[in-house]
Every structure is written in C-alpha cells, then in structure tokens.
C-alpha cells in the first residue's frame, strides 16, 4: 500500500539504513585501520619499550660500572687479595642487583668474578668460573665501547666494562652484567603482553637463550623466533623483533610475539558492542521513524476518513486536530468547506424539491412522500388541482400577474393545508397543484377547498376568480400503487376538461391511457398491412318502407393475441397517434369495394362511413374522397359521411367548409352521436348536413324514460323542421322501433334489426330481405 505513512516510513528507513550503512562502513574501515594501527602501534611500542628497557639496563650498567671504577676502595683492593676484591665487587654488585660482576687486571686476567644464580628461587652468589683465566675478549678492553654481550657457559649477560684508572694509568677493568634470561623475558612480557624469546647467534648458529614463561610453544620457540626475526612470522601471530649485533661475532635476536586472536579479542568485543549498539540504534530509529510517519499521516488519514464521510453525504461530523500547523489549518478549511458544501447542498436540495415560484414542494418531494406513504401502506387521497383560465390571465394581464395568481392560490392552499389535515401540498408547476390528504371524505374535503377559494383575488384593482378544477383519486380504493393513484387523479382532472365539471373522481372508464392501449399503439401500425382489420356492416332500416336502404361501415380489429378489439378502444388511439388517416382511408376504400360487390348482387345500399375530426383537418382529404369515388365508380349520393358532433365543434369553420364541399359533391353528411356534444343549434343550422343521428343513449331506454322520449321527439321535430332526416341508433326492442316509426323517424339502426356483421354474413340476410320485399310488393301488386 503506497500510503503517505508508508512512503515517509520507507523514506526514513532508507535514510536510516543509508546513514547506518555509512556509519557502519566507516566504523568498519576505522576498526580495520584501528586494528592494524593498534597492532602496529603495539608492536612498535613493544619494540621501543624493549629497546628502551634494554638500553636503559645497559646505561644503568654502564653508569654504574663507571662509578664503581672510580671507587677508591675498589682501586685500593684491585690488585690485593682476591677475597677483599670479591667482597668489594659483591658490594657493588648488590647495589644494582647485577647478575655478574668481574674485574680484569691490566694484564687481561680475570682477577675477580662473581655470578649470581638461582636455586629454587633462592639467590646464590658464586665465584665465576673464569676466575684466574685470561679474559677472552682482550680487544674489548682497549675499544671505547663499553656495552657487550657476554656469554658464560649458557648464561648470556648484558655487560658493561669500565676501566679502573689511577690518573691515566689503567689498573684494570671492572664489568657488570645483567643476565638475559627468563626474568627479563617475563618482565618484558608483563609490560607489553607479548611473549618474548631471546636467541643468540654465535659462529653463525642460532641458539635459544631464554623464553618468557607463558610462552607455551617451547618446542618450536627457536624456529618461531627465527621466523619472526626473518620477518616471516606465521599469520596467526603478531610479531616484531629486535637485533643487537656484537661486532659481527654474535647477535642477539629478540622475538616478541602474541597470538593475533588474543590480541584482537578486545577489539572484537568492542566491535560486537558496537554492532549491538548499531542494531539498537537502528531499531530505536526505525521505531521513531514509524511514529513520526504515523504522526504525520495520522491527521491526514483522519482528513481522508472525514472526506469519505462527507462524500457519503454526512456533513454533521467535524474533524478536530490539535495541530496549529498546515494540516491543522487544512482541517479547519475542511470543516469550513464542509459547512459551505452543506449549505449549498441544502439550497440545491431545497431547489430540487421545491418550486422556485411558490417555494412549495415539487414533484420530487411528492415522489419521496408517496414512496414513504406507500411503504407505510397508508390510506390517502390525491387531489390534482388545476387553476382554470391561467392562460387567459397570462395572455391578457401578463405572466407576472399569472405568477401572482399562482402564488395567491399557493398561499390559500397552504393556509388550508395548515388548518386541515392535508399532509402535503405540491406545486407541480404552472397551474397544477397536488394535495395529499389522509382524510378520505371527498365531499367534505372538496367543500373545504371551495370555501377557501371562494373569495376573489384582487390584484391591482382587478378582481380575479380562483376557479380550480379537481381530479381525485384514492388509495387503495383505486390503486395500491401511489404512482398510479397520482396518474389516476391526473386522468380524472384531464377528464374535467372534456366535461366541464369542476370535480371529477376517478373511475376506470376515464382511463384511456392504459398499458393495454400503449401496446395497441404499436400493434395498430401493423394492423392494416397485416390484414388484421376487417369491416363489419350494420344495416339501417327505412321505417317508412321497412326496407334496408343503408348500412354503416364499422371497422373491427382482429388482434392476433387479444382477439376482437372494439373501435371504442383503438379509434381513439388512432386519432391521437396520427394513424387515423390511414385507417379512415382503408375503411373508405374497403367500404366502396363492398358497395360495388353488393351492387353486383343487386343490392343497392347507401354506405355510411365514420369520419374522425382529425380527418377533417387533412389537406388532401377531400381530394382523396373524390378520387376514391371516381376510382370505384361509386355515385357520391350512395355515400354518407358520419361526423361526430364534437369533431365539428373543435374547428367549426374549416369543418363546415369541407363538409359543404362534400355535400356539394353529392355525398350525404350525417351528424353522429347527436345530443352528446352540446352543440348549439346555431352551429347545427350552419352545418351542411342531411341528417341527425340521435345517440343511442337516448334510444336505448326510450320505452321507460319519458324524458328521452321528449328529447327524441323534439329532436325529430327539430330536424324535420330544419329539413333534416333523423337516424336513430341503438334500437334494441320492438317498442323503440314502433315508437320511432310513429314519430316519423326516417332510419333505424340497432341490434333489434341487426348486429354489425361482416359482409359475408350480412349479404345472405340482405338478399333474403330483398327477395321478401320483392315478393311482398308482388303480393301487394297482385292483391
């Protein structure tokens, strides 16, 4: 993980390792050098000490020999009896603890000699073996040099000779000697720590004189000493040597040596101590480095954690660092930023959930609340409110006034909301509001609303009525799905536009926008080319002649999976999705073809075809109709165009113009569903129509409903007075048929006469009717 902490730690580790390595390397080198220097130093020192010691002994001897030579007492007895001389000599010897003292007469005879020796560490003095014999080195006496190496039997002495004179007359010589033996070697060893061997070369042959006591290597002492003197010591030794040459005759070799291992042991120990210290230092340093790294990265980690917390949307936690440094400042800025972000987010959230104009909750909030309510399975009512005529206000008084009106409405609704138990007021935008209420009494709720909105809104002297249309849907009565309930309220509201009612409570019939319908939209596109559409025909009976003179072409959709679909279900879709054009044209051409088919069979029927409002807006519709008639060679007067009352109402002028052209062309024009569209009589007067088709809602209950009878009778009279024929549809019983016949209705259509049927089924029926009529006429003629 490449965290900052690890990076810093790694950096420290590398740095420390580097520093330690350098230190270690330096010390190691230093140690090596030190070791070499120490060894060298030690050996040099040893050699120096030895030389110094040796020379000092000699100087001591020499000085004493000179002093003794001047002793008058000695001079007095020099040539006297030997015992006196020996006593005098011993006195002198004792003063410097010499191992050898001797006198040589002027004639070169050893006339006095004392040797010290040891027996079981006890000191003894004896007369020297050379007493009375000639001094072996006469030439030493005349030579100026006083220091000599002197050998008696196996004992080697460091000797200093001094002449005994009277004036310039030489009486003889006196010599003092220190023995070069194990004592010297041991003394030297105790000073230098090095084993010391003395070897002597006489006549070219080296012989061992003495070795220090602790030198274990007795057997090879001579060969080792020789190796050392030849600068050829074995590797395990540190060694130095000194050579004292005596007139080429004899040479004293001093070999000083020690085992390197013993010597280096102390340094080695120091080295280990240093190693341990280095490791300890490293461990302590690394631990410190770890904590330093942690102390640096810890606040950063906390900031990182805090950043994650903020990213997750939690703005409540503050990060507190007790640092006054940059990171502490960063933490403060972090907190500032956090509160700033919180404020902005709250503002944004508010904007997201509220309408900017009224500051009321918007659809987002609605959805959230609905979600919650649904989760709680609460009962609730949705009121979808729409402020009527806002467009008029905007257009006439300006959008500012429109906005004021909306605000006023919002205020009033809000007041209501506070006063009553409405759970939520939502402003969907523009003139649409939603009220959520847990109170399910619709009438009471509506009443409260109307009370609240009753008073007019006075804006700069203009008195405005706040009229509101309301769509209502209930949960779970209409649907358990909150969104569907909302949609249902919308549907209900939408319905009020058509009906002009102020309040509409949802019921399923209002809903044309079902899911099923949505799939039909797609399927309908395929229906015509796939041949799924077919025409059914319903006969119209001429009540005067009791003959079938007309048929109405009705389209049917044989859906591959849903089966037969009623035109009520899909015509509306076709109209809204722009497919009505193709549909109408298919119907028209198919109907004309059927006309010709029947004409060939001798059936001369007028065919009525339904024209949708949208068809009337098609620019080439007139041309298509005329062209189709011509193509099919169908007389125009054999075609009736049925137009609904409402389709004319939408754009009366254009409709009137087009219909007039059709009428002029010879076609019959019929007003379909008459009585449901609230069309004014003034319009009716202008319409170029031939007949009125009274809606089946008035006909179906004709037998039992006196009002319907009045309406139908009046309508028939009205139509007749205006020179129009009347068609009644929805005749389902004999009473209606007879009643209509009595009241002068021209044509009748309904199940009682015949259901709409495909041409294949209807044709035989028509032919049978035709034949019975012909028979009847013949019978009439015959009678």
């Amino acid at each position: 993980m490449k965290s900052l902490q690890n990076k810093i730690f790694l950096f420290f580790v590398l740095l420390l390792l580097m520093v330690q390595s350098i230190a270690f390397w330096t010390l190691y080198n230093g140690k090596q050098n030190q070791e070499a220097a120490e060894i060298n130093n030690r050996l040099t020192t040893a050699k120096t000490i030895f030389t110094e010691l040796f020379d000092r002994r000699l100087a001591y001897l020499s000085a004493f020999a000179e002093t003794a030579a001047k002793d008058y007492g000695l001079k007095e007895v020099f040539n006297e009896d030997t015992r006196s001389l020996l006593f005098a000599l011993n006195n002198h010897r004792k003063r410097i603890d010499a191992d050898l003292v001797m006198t040589v007469s002027a004639e070169g005879i050893v006339n006095g000699q004392l040797q010290r020796y040891f027996i079981n560490d006890a000191e003894k003095i004896r007369q020297g073996v050379e007493h009375g014999s000639k001094f072996r080195f006469i030439d030493w006496l005349s030579a100026g040099k006083s220091a000599h190496l002197y050998m008696i039997d196996d004992a080697l002495y460091q000797l200093s000779i001094s002449p005994v004179t009277v004036g310039t007359k030489t009486l003889g010589w006196i010599a003092f000697g220190f023995q070069i033996d194990q004592r010297l070697a041991d003394e030297f060893t105790s000073i230098t720590g090095l084993d010391t061997d003395f070897i002597l070369r006489i006549d070219g042959i080296w012989r061992l004189i003495s070795i220090s006591q602790q030198d274990a290597n007795h057997a090879d002492a001579l060969s080792l000493a020789l190796q050392i003197i030849e600068n050829n010591a074995p590797d395990q030794y540190i060694a130095t040597h000194s050579l004292i040459t005596e007139l080429d005759e004899q040479e004293l070799g001093v070999a000083m040596h020690g085992l390197k291992a013993n010597f280096v042991a102390l340094l080695q120990e120091q080295w280990w101590r240093f190693l341990i210290l280095a490791i300890l230092t490293l461990v302590v340093s690394l631990t410190s480095a770890y904590f330093i790294a942690a102390s640096i990265s810890k606040p950063i980690k906390r900031l990182v954690t805090q950043a994650k917390v903020i990213a997750s949307g939690d703005y409540q936690q503050k990060v507190t660092l007790n640092d006054n440094n940059e990171i502490g400042q960063l933490a403060d800025e972090f907190n500032n930023m956090q509160s700033a972000v919180l404020q902005r987010e709250e503002a944004i959230m508010h904007l997201a959930d509220h309408d900017p104009l009224t500051d009321l909750p918007n659809r987002n909030m609605l959805n959230k609340v609905l979600k919650k309510i649904t989760a709680q399975q609460q009962l609730f009512m949705v009121l979808h409110l729409n402020l009527s005529r806002l467009k008029d206000v905007n257009d006439t008084l300006g959008h500012d006034v429109g906005d004021e009106v909306i605000k006023e409405l919002a205020n009033r609704l809000q007041r209501l909301c506070k006063a009553k138990n409405f759970s939520l007021l939502v402003h969907l935008g523009a003139d649409e509001f939603i009220l959520l209420a847990e109170h399910l009494d619709i009438d009471e709720t509506i009443a409260q609303l109307q009370v609240e909105l009753e008073s007019t809104f006075d804006y700069q002297g203009i008195s405005l009525q706040l009229q509101v249309r309301i769509g209502v849907a209930l949960c779970p009565e209409h649907s358990a799905d909150a969104k569907l309930v909302l949609q249902m309220a919308d549907t209900a509201l939408h319905h009020t536009r058509g009906t002009g009612k102020l309040v509409q409570i949802y019921h399923p019939d209002l809903d044309v926008n079902t899911v099923e319908r949505l799939s039909l939209i797609n399927d309908l596109k395929q229906a015509i080319p796939a041949g799924e559409l077919e025409l059914h025909f319903q006969p119209k009976l001429s009540l005067k002649t009791n003959v079938i003179t007309h048929v109405e072409a009705l389209v049917r959709w044989q859906h591959p999976s849903l089966g037969m679909i009623s035109p009520d279900d899909f015509i509306h879709i076709a109209e809204q999705t722009g497919q009505i054009k193709a549909l109408t044209r298919w119907v028209f051409i198919t109907a004309l073809a059927q006309f010709n088919a029947w004409r060939a069979l001798g059936l001369n029927l007028n065919i009525a075809i339904n024209i949708a409002a949208k068809n009337l807006k098609e620019t080439d519709f007139h041309q298509f109709i005329c062209q189709s008639l011509m193509n099919a060679n169908v007389p125009a007067e054999k075609v009736t165009l049925e137009v609904t009352e409402s389709s004319v109402v939408e754009d009366p002028e254009a409709a009137i113009k087009l219909l007039s052209e059709f009428k002029n062309h010879g076609m019959k024009i019929s007003i379909d569903d008459y009585g449901t569209g609230y069309s004014s009589l003034a319009q009716l007067k202008q319409l170029p129509v031939h007949e009125l088709k009274i809606d089946k809602s008035f006909i179906q209950r004709l037998e039992h409903d006196d009002d319907d009878q009045i309406i139908v009778r009046s309508t028939i009279e009205l139509a007749h007075n205006m020179g129009l024929h009347v068609v009644a549809e929805g005749i389902e019983d004999e009473f209606s048929l007879n009643w209509l016949t009595e009241h002068g209705c021209e044509l009748a259509q309904g199940y009682y006469i015949s259901k709409p049927k495909p041409a294949t089924e209807l044709t035989p029926w028509l032919l049978e009717r035709l034949n019975s009529e012909v028979k009847g006429k013949e019978e009439k003629v015959n009678t």
């Binding site: 008058y72 001079k75 020099f78 040539n79 004179t165 009277v166 004036g167 007359k169 009486l171």
Partner: protein, 230 residues
Amino acid sequence: MNSKLIIHYILLLILVLFSQISNATSCDNKVENNTCVEILVKSNTGQNLIDMVVYLEPLDGQVLEKSHKEVVVGQFGKSFSPYLSVSQINSAVNFINRDDITHHIYSAGNENKFSFKIRAGKTNSSTKFEHASEVAMGCNIHDWMSGYLLVVNTPYFDKTDEHGRASFNIAKQGKYKVVVWHPQMQVNTNRMTIEKDIFEHESLTFILKDEIKTIPIQESDDDFDFLSDY
C-alpha cells in the same frame, strides 16, 4: 759610547746564553773521575723529546750515593704539576698543594700505594716510597688529575730537557741499565732499556719506535661554573 756599551751588553748576553746552552748539553758540573753519560731521546720522527724520564740503574752492584735532589709533586691548577716526577727509593717526596682547594692524592694498585688529603697551600712529605715502581697518582676529588711518580733505585735519574737530552756524571763506572720511561711511551712497561758498560764518556740516543701518545690533559670534561668561585 752608549751605543758601544749597548752592543757590548748584547754581545755579552748572547755569550751568556750560548754558554748556558752549551752547559745544558753537556754534563753539568764536571767532576773529576766522573764519567759523563749523555742521553738523547728522539721520537720516531726524529724530534727531540722533552720530559722523558731517564735513569741509569747500576747492574754491577755499584754502591752509589743517595740522591739529594728535592722531589716535588706539585698540584697546581687542579692538575699534577709536573706531570712526571722521579725520586729515589726512600727519598722524601714533597707533595705541595699550590691550589686553593684540597686535593686527595692517592695511588693504588702497586706496592707504593698511598692516600692522603692535602689542604690548600700545604705540603705533605710524610709518604715514604720504599719500592722502585711506577706510581700512578690520581686525585679522588678531581678525577681528571693524573700524575706519575717514578720511584727508582738509583740516584741517576733525570728528565730530558727541551733538546731531549739528559746527562749524568757517573761516579762509579760499571754496567748500567739505561732506561727511558714515559707513561705514554707505546712499548711494554712504557720504557726503553739499554744495558751498557760505562767506562768512558757515552752519548746514547734513544729513538722511539712508535709515536709517543699525547699526555692527557688534566682538565675536567665538564665546564664547572662553580669552580671559579671555589
């Protein structure tokens, strides 16, 4: 006049000097019946050597008169002065300290060994030298002082003069051992010896075979500041 007189004096002086020289080169005071023996000592390079001890020892048992020469062993300037002295056996030897400090004169290693302190300006004549021998002397206080007293058993002893000569009037003719001695003479026992029957005037010349050593200077090796104040 005066000048004549001066010249006369000068001539006279020269004459005196000459006569002195001629005296020195011959037997001093010629005694009748005495035989003059003249000895000349020359170095190996032919130079006349001064202060060489010469003595004649009778070998034929001649009875000779004891010498009456006063023998002085002086100490002056922290040195033996003269360096060499000669005396006959049993003669008085006067040790005269001419210095202003005490000396401790001694001799050792021979039959005539002695030792005494002699204070400044004093004379010590107490020591008898009974043996004919070379007496090397030193001072125990002043180590560098070195002098010799040669004790001979004959009245005929002398030191050569500046011409390397010594002369003796021999009273009794006979065989004599003529010896030339000097401590620095590089021969055995530091002497040259000739045995000679002396019956008539003799002139003997000794020529050293080797170079005679320089007489050691009797001076301290050390430069004692304090000695001047002593």
